[in-house]
């Protein structure tokens, strides 16, 4: 077995220092070591976006990142989104508009929506669909997800 290496990063405002094997993905460390199971494992190959988190202000698929790659990074998972204490308007809108059923894709979709609205506060329907194309949902048929995002924008305006 390859020697474990030291890894430090900040996740949801908390500084973490752990030892990890080079072969472990960020997804495995987040779910298994840190027990932050709001980040989901879907396809494990970068297609479905269920494992999306925010690393240094950008959404990434954690199944395709080795944990050691995030040395020194600032990470936000769904547990730390909006301080993890109260519902963010994006979360409320998904609940109110039925933008979820089984919930597996929801953490990723919330974070992808957040990144979209950060860079483009008034996206068109096409821009919303493009920005969320990396988050697969097998329940809703997407229309209610798009509606949830549009309602957030309406409420913020």
């Amino acid at each position: 077995m390859t020697t474990k290496k030291n890894l430090t990063f900040n996740i949801n405002g908390k500084n973490i220092k752990i030892e990890v094997e080079p072969r472990r993905t960020l997804l495995e460390v987040i779910r298994d070591d840190l027990q932050l199971t709001g980040t989901k494992e879907g396809c494990s190959n970068g297609n479905c976006g269920a494992c999306t988190v925010i690393v240094d202000d950008l959404t990434v698929n954690t199944c395709c990142i080795l944990a050691l790659e995030v040395q020194g990074a600032k990470i936000t998972t769904i547990e730390g989104f909006n301080d993890g204490t109260k519902l963010h308007p994006i979360q409320s809108s998904f609940i109110e508009n039925g933008g979820l059923q089984c919930g597996i894709c929801t953490p990723g979709l919330i974070l992808s929506t957040h990144q979209l609205l950060q860079s483009n506060p008034n996206p068109s329907e096409h821009e919303i669909r493009y920005a969320l194309a990396g988050n697969l949902c097998r329940c809703t048929g997407y229309d209610k997800i798009i509606l949830s995002v549009q309602k957030v924008i309406e409420n913020l305006n």
């Binding site: 080079p22 970068g46 395709c64 790659e69 990144q115 194309a133 990396g134």
Partner: protein
Amino acid sequence: MIDFEYIKPTKLSDAKKLLGELKSNAKILAGGTDLVDQIRTKKSQPKVLIDLKSIPELQIIKNDNSQGLRIGSALPLIKLQQNESKLRTYPGLLESIGLIGSVQTQNRATLGGNIGNASPSADTVPILIALSTIVLINSESGSRKMLLEEIFNGPGSLVLEEGEFIQELIIPFQSGRSANHYMRFTPRAEMDIAVVGVGASVLVSDDGIVQSVKIGLGAVAPIPTRSLNAEDFLKGKLFTLENIEQACEILYLDADPISDIRGSKEYRLELLKVICKRVLVKCAESLV
């Protein structure tokens, strides 16, 4: 996942030395959007991964008056999208980047990785070939430059020697009445792999004559390639719909597609004509 070592050099000289010593035991990690999955599925079994993301020379994006736009090979694609002003004369490159995977993929993936992966269907490659992109290759024994179209050896393989790596891409500036675009065909709008991809760059004189044209083809041969036949046909002729259509009829001379789950050989050859025509017409429409 199989076991491997992970090293993240922060200096170019350290990276050269490491890759020179480890040779084929090492694999270069950039964005990892393809490589991490290749390792998980045992398609790639490196002993050591060398992460090149912390080397400043591989993160540049700058205009160099004597050469063109220089882009570090490990710069994430999102940084190219954020530097749109530097890419204003390369709309085709931005179009191709916007088609790669999802936002999550574009936040990590790099041009060096898209090239180094050597997939025949890589989206950025046909347009980079059409733009006459030069690749700066470095190693312990020195650096060299080559045209991007000469770097491919076969599916998944480059002509680079052991210990060599892609440091940066140099895209010559576009000037005069020029245009460039990229399009591809996929069954799904997003998150798919090109069945056929075409990137074209054209320079036209004031009276509408094609002075130079390059047409890069993706997913229709074992390596990304150019249609020299269609280019030669167009050169010196008026850039009209009729001439574009005739050029597209001889694209098959430079294509040798396979039949696979995404499409048969015959289907790809037919699509190639359609997509190339659309790209060239779009170029004609965006000429001023």
